[in-house]
């Protein structure tokens, strides 16, 4: 046997250095469990992205203290249909705004949030708050109020739109696609558009959403979500 054969045979022999036996059952089960977790996470991300793509951005900041439901309206002349009936929509919640003293999000500034609500996320992309009954595993994009930059979200052509005034500038209040959420879009000082998303099922009135948005401001660090 010459050297060439010896060396290449030695390399090939590495194939027999292990890996010929069936895998340990526990290891296989762990691989499957990791796959399940990854699949669940992927589906959750896709779901969240889809919801954002619909235009759902939500809200949080609000403004002046006082009953959310008793705020004055700075609405324009167009009438905006109220959310479809739901358990909550049938009896609009009378949220009280409370001064927000927690850490301010990197991208947004919030004067107040609904009393008793919980902030679940505050970063450069979104400020999210959920109601106290959201449970141990809240779905802020579905159940709470979100504030983001508008990004690529646009009010659907078939959405009724009301002209509103937010912080002295013209804004638009309408619905996301499928009318799953109310969208309030208004420009901030630097010219970017802010999107406040409120799930329709919460049943908030237009003036509640408007008052909520009056206390929202954006920092230079805010970034738009894609979709």
């Amino acid at each position: 046997m010459n050297d060439t054969t010896d060396f290449l045979d030695a390399l090939r022999a590495l194939r027999d250095s292990g890996g010929q036996v069936p895998a340990d059952a526990d290891a296989v089960a762990a691989d499957l469990a990791r796959g399940h977790r990854a699949l669940t996470g992927k589906r959750r991300r896709i779901g969240a992205a889809g919801f954002v793509a619909l235009g759902v951005v939500a809200a949080t900041m609000a403004v002046a203290a006082g009953p959310f439901g008793e705020a004055h309206s700075s609405m324009g002349t167009h009438h905006v249909a109220q959310p479809a009936a739901s358990s909550r929509a049938e009896s609009p919640i009378a949220l009280q705004l409370a001064s927000y003293t927690g850490a301010q999000p990197a991208g947004f500034r919030v004067d107040s949030i609904p009393a008793g609500w919980n902030v679940t996320s505050s970063n450069t992309y979104a400020f999210l708050v959920v109601p106290p009954d959201a449970g141990d595993h809240p779905r802020p994009w579905l159940d709470g109020i979100a504030v983001t930059l508008q990004g690529e979200s646009r009010l659907p052509a078939d959405s009724p739109v009301s002209k509103v005034t937010i912080q002295g500038k013209d804004g638009q209040l309408g619905f996301s696609g499928g009318r799953e959420a109310r969208w309030l879009i208004f420009p901030e000082a630097a010219g970017r558009s802010v999107l406040v998303q409120v799930p329709t099922k919460l049943g908030l009135k237009d003036d509640q959403i408007i008052r909520f948005a009056q206390g929202v401001s954006v920092t230079k660090d805010a970034r738009a979500l894609r979709g």
Binding site: N2, D3, T4, D6, F7, L8, A10, L11, R12, A13, L14, R15, S17, G18, G19, Q20, V21, P22, A23, A25, A27, V28, A30, D31, L32, R34, G35, H36, A38, L39, K42
Partner: protein, 168 residues
């Protein structure tokens, strides 16, 4: 469309048969480091599970290999970023004896090659893949495989001049 139960059953069967082999390949790609090899295979199998509905059964082996190669190469990049540290003294470097009498020596020899070059050599000369299969696993052209594997062997020849004839 495969149901989740079908996916789980097929995935379990595949992993039961192929897992140890994939760990062995990953270890060769990662200079014999069994811990990093296990990590790479776990990552690769997770990616495989996610892609399962889109992978044809007759290409499962090739797809799994590609996942392992990618995970191993990604692992090397991650480790470089995470572990690169300035040292006050020159670290000891293992000296490879001019002998390939045992697997550890051979793995040490392969470890002297750059990652992608090592992958080309391992897939072609250890695993016995042809050029096309190696190119598919490395996601590169067949020409790149030929050049990388040839250069890899040249380097090995430089380390082991007494076996120069082996690499012609």
């Amino acid at each position: 469309m495969k149901s989740t139960s079908d996916r789980d059953r097929q995935f379990t069967e595949f992993v039961s048969v192929r897992r140890a082999e994939l760990v062995r390949v990953a270890a060769l790609l990662l200079s014999g480091d069994q811990v990093r090899a296990e990590d790479a295979v776990q990552i690769a199998l997770t990616r495989l599970y996610l892609a399962w509905p889109k992978v044809r059964l007759d290409t499962l082996d090739a797809y799994a290999r590609r996942c392992v190669v990618n995970a191993a190469l990604d692992d090397r990049r991650r480790l470089f970023r995470r572990r690169e540290q300035a040292q006050a003294t020159v670290p000891d470097v293992a000296v490879i004896e001019p002998c390939y009498a045992d697997n550890a020596t051979l793995v040490g020899l392969l470890a002297t090659l750059p990652a992608r070059m090592r992958a080309a050599v391992v897939l072609r000369y250890v695993e016995g893949f042809n050029v096309a299969e190696t190119a598919e696993a490395l996601t590169c052209s067949e020409g790149t495989v030929r050049s990388q594997s040839a250069r890899g062997l040249e380097r090995l020849r430089a380390i082991f001049p007494e076996y120069a004839d082996s690499f012609v």
